[in-house]
Symmetry: C2
Subunit: 220 residues, 2 copies
Amino acid sequence: MTSPTPIRVVLADDERMVRTALRAILSAEPDLEVVGEAATGAEALSVVRDVRPDVVLMDVRMPEIDGIRATEQILATLDEPPRIVVVTTFENDSYVYDALRAGAAGFLLKRADADALVQAVRLVARSDSLLFPAAVRTLAAEHARAHPAPPAWVAKLTEREGEVLRHMARGLTNAEIARRMGVGPATVKSHVAAVLAKTGTRDRTQAVIAAYEARFLNGG
Amino acid sequence: MTSPTPIRVVLADDERMVRTALRAILSAEPDLEVVGEAATGAEALSVVRDVRPDVVLMDVRMPEIDGIRATEQILATLDEPPRIVVVTTFENDSYVYDALRAGAAGFLLKRADADALVQAVRLVARSDSLLFPAAVRTLAAEHARAHPAPPAWVAKLTEREGEVLRHMARGLTNAEIARRMGVGPATVKSHVAAVLAKTGTRDRTQAVIAAYEARFLNGG
DNA sequence: CGGCGTCTCCCCCGTTCGGCGGAGGCGGAT
DNA sequence: ATCCGCCTCCGCCGAACGGGGGAGACGCCG
């Protein structure tokens, strides 16, 4: 059942102890072979280019180039790139998203036990026919589309104008906004006019549209 | 390295041949044991309740109760539920999302080779410390928020009313909408009134808000 | 001190909007 | 043949809206 040629693995982590531990775990398996190590993202790039491994265990936090960027560059520059498993200590969500978007084949926590580690390596080496393959990428892409950079006018709104826009985006009239904010209707009119000017819109409807497009509303 | 007690697996698929094939593959591994089979979602539920497996390979399409619902119910009703791997022929995105949302531990294509299959079973049995665990759930949750069920009023809008609402949501006035649609302003007024009535809103701004909240606009 | 931005409020004016009721034509369903 | 839904349009009215211009108060900063 064991394949004739072992799975060639490169370890990229700035801490020597981590590399040593990983090497010890992987070397105990006859079908796995650690063929290189790197302590920085840049080093990882050149090592991978030289030894052409099947799998890379890539730490996120590393000097010079972090693991995410190293992953991107490896996948972008090599013809038949290795499968890359991003390794980190904490399951920071944005790391996971970044790793997915960068094209990593998997995401592994350092607290994972030895058995999970070796099975992860075998798994990613075997291709992505398993466990949320391509679809996970589309999820990550969707996540990226869901968090675009906000337009410039958002920062230019004063606090009061922002409040008014929020109320406008809830469908309130000027009079209602005035009541809720404890000011006169004329004041609200002024704020609305300022909002229209800064958003480059001509009426409250267009302003609300702009607010939605800019994802100006936090809840919703 | 092999654990003393084998991993207990239940197969749920309405096609006998698939079950036989899976059983053949899994039985060849000393650390895996097929302890039950089910041909329907309902059957899967009772079998799992009886034999208490570690892992369930669950087909999506099944009579009576589909695999997704069966997964939901198993996870909801059992105290220490098994890890469930959803199996299907095509990598339909919505299936993947549904599986994730239902709480499945993995997603497997039927075209996956035997080795990938057994490693998948071993992997999910070993817990989710690996390959996009909890974070994948949050992604799925985000996807669910991004694609909620549209409100009832969407279906009740006539074609013309829908067009008008789209134009309203682009910030056009009644007169502009009338020009673009090649009708009189009075006609647009009628359509707008109908839209307001059916959406339960009192002015165009609130209607546009409703359109955005309902994701009535396809692009954007 | 003197500008500057912000928040507050005022008046006037024309436009737009939304609510009301009505009407005719057209096509599908019963 | 009749009803019903949809699309098309009409007039009238009050309310809300947006533009214009202005003004006083406050605080910040150079």
